[in-house]
Symmetry: C2
């Protein structure tokens, strides 16, 4: 059974870990958002790819959700003593090794997809981990005062508190899906949109030329899990992103934003039990929708959430 997941960072990584536990024999491909990637102090940082690699490889800082277990801030603190750089963007000393390794391979001319495969060898995440594209696409945030800042600056430094007018992605129009991305969608038995940020994570993946069309035309069912529970994001500040693009922060509104195939990209939508009303409303509009507990408190619970999502489209093996 081939499962393809379009993922951002923490939420998508935890969901994938649960699905991996549910379906130990499935071939799972994760297409990761790379719009949050950035060059920092000369090294290439790929937040979502690393969160996926560490989470699925058993190396993640579990409480934090990203970064490596047992990291220190010695290098980061010493860098701050120079009064340089983004002091609010901590580079953990072990995470930094990943960035240095990645940068070396990129500078040697390898595309990000091959670099990712090479780095993942160490962590054996038991999924095929693909960047959405090998091109350098970076999400920038246009602020109300006209400034344009990197997404990470808005997200981490300003905690998404500065009103965003819109998001722009550099190089997006000419970006090409990384090798294997379109095939993973076309050849899947089921495609899952996990509870990742629908605007800057999944939305950015969908905006890579060819990806949305691949979702519309794949023979696989596509099921999503709502990242919004009870009118608020389960984690992070997706509400600020949704507001910026004029979408209400509700489980139903996110589903409608993704849209139903063939015009949209989803066949089915799983919401939290607290949003059972939203599932009913969507069903009355013709959606396949259900509700369940969707709080990914631990791996077994998350495996159950994955099962509930797959059951919606009859994709449980």
């Amino acid at each position: 059974m081939n499962v393809t997941i379009l993922s951002g960072g923490v939420g998508g990584a935890r969901f994938t870990r649960g699905l991996r536990a549910l379906l130990p024999d499935a071939a799972v491909t994760v297409v990761a958002n790379t719009g949050d990637d950035l060059w920092l102090h000369g090294v290439r940082v790929c937040p979502d790819l690393d969160t996926l690699m560490y989470t699925l490889g058993g190396a993640v800082h579990e409480e934090q959700g990203w970064g490596r277990r047992d990291e220190s801030r010695r290098t980061s603190d010493d860098l701050a003593a120079y009064g340089l750089g983004w002091e609010w963007f901590t580079l953990g000393d072990l995470d930094l090794a990943t960035h240095l390794a990645r940068t070396e391979l990129l500078r040697a001319g390898l595309p990000l997809s091959q670099v990712t495969a090479r780095l993942a060898q160490r962590w054996a995440p038991d999924v095929t981990l693909l960047p959405m594209t090998d091109d350098e696409v970076e999400t920038h945030v246009v602020l109300a005062d006209g400034r344009e800042v990197h997404f990470e600056e808005w997200w981490v430094r300003h905690r998404a508190a500065l009103p965003a007018v819109r998001f722009v992605q550099t190089n997006l129009a000419t970006a090409v899906p990384a090798p294997g991305v379109l095939e993973a969608i076309a050849d899947a038995d089921v495609v899952v949109v996990p509870p990742s940020n629908p605007v800057v994570s999944v939305g950015t993946i969908l905006a890579v030329p060819g990806v949305r069309e691949a979702l519309r035309t794949t023979t696989a069912p596509v099921v999503g899990v709502s990242p919004v529970v009870g009118g608020a994001p389960v984690r992070g500040m997706a509400d600020a992103c949704l507001t910026a693009i004029g979408v209400e922060t509700s489980a139903a509104a996110v589903a409608r934003h993704y849209g139903r195939r063939p015009d949209g990209v989803l066949d089915a939508w799983l919401v939290d039990d607290r949003d059972a009303d939203a599932a009913r409303a969507l069903r009355s509009e013709g959606w396949t929708a259900g509700s369940a507990n969707t709080l990914m408190t631990d791996v077994p619970t998350t495996a159950r959430i994955a099962a509930d999502a797959l059951a919606l489209v009859g994709a449980l093996p």
Copy 2:
């Protein structure tokens, strides 16, 4: 009083620290070799500039002679776990902060001389620290089997044990002395060549177009201190470098290799007491030469060595 020093790493840094202690009121400019610099994992490493900055700024790992006090190898070890890069070239976690800071400023478009000044603000080395050039000049070693490797690979990885045929510097022909370098030589009251590697440290500085001519024509006396004591380098493997260019590893041969002005670059040469014969031989050839204890065991002893060198050319204030 203006003192200008042409320096490599550890030896030159320790000598300069002694001279700094001897002449607390002098304006000291250090022109540093940058031929050992390299891009490693995407960050720019400048071994000699950093050794000078740390040594004169009180942050150096004293026993090691280079790198920062209290460094850990956590990041370096984790990088090695990827099986990538130069596992034999350890990037200490605090030193790494310097490389990241430097790389950020270089990537922002600043020339190395301005980057160096910016980084040195933190350490207040009490000297003006100049790279020999803002251009990327890298010393490579041509081996007997025809391979060409970066100097650091030959020096650190192979401990200079692979016979070298010759040294080549990338971009040297078009390199321009960094702002202030030629002026520091022309306007000096005395120029000192410390006991640095005469081939790959001082030799590389001398090979930057314009530097040798500046030394020939400056009104300041130029005095050197032998890095060879009793037929062997005091530190490091300068003998392997000297052998490669056909120069005997002896205090007298190194002086003759530098040469006397106006054809060469020196006016006077200080050797160790163990090489008093060499001083006598040089004097019989017309040199100003003397002998003293030249082992830089601590700062006061090194200050005395600096005094002995300056006394040779009557440059003690």
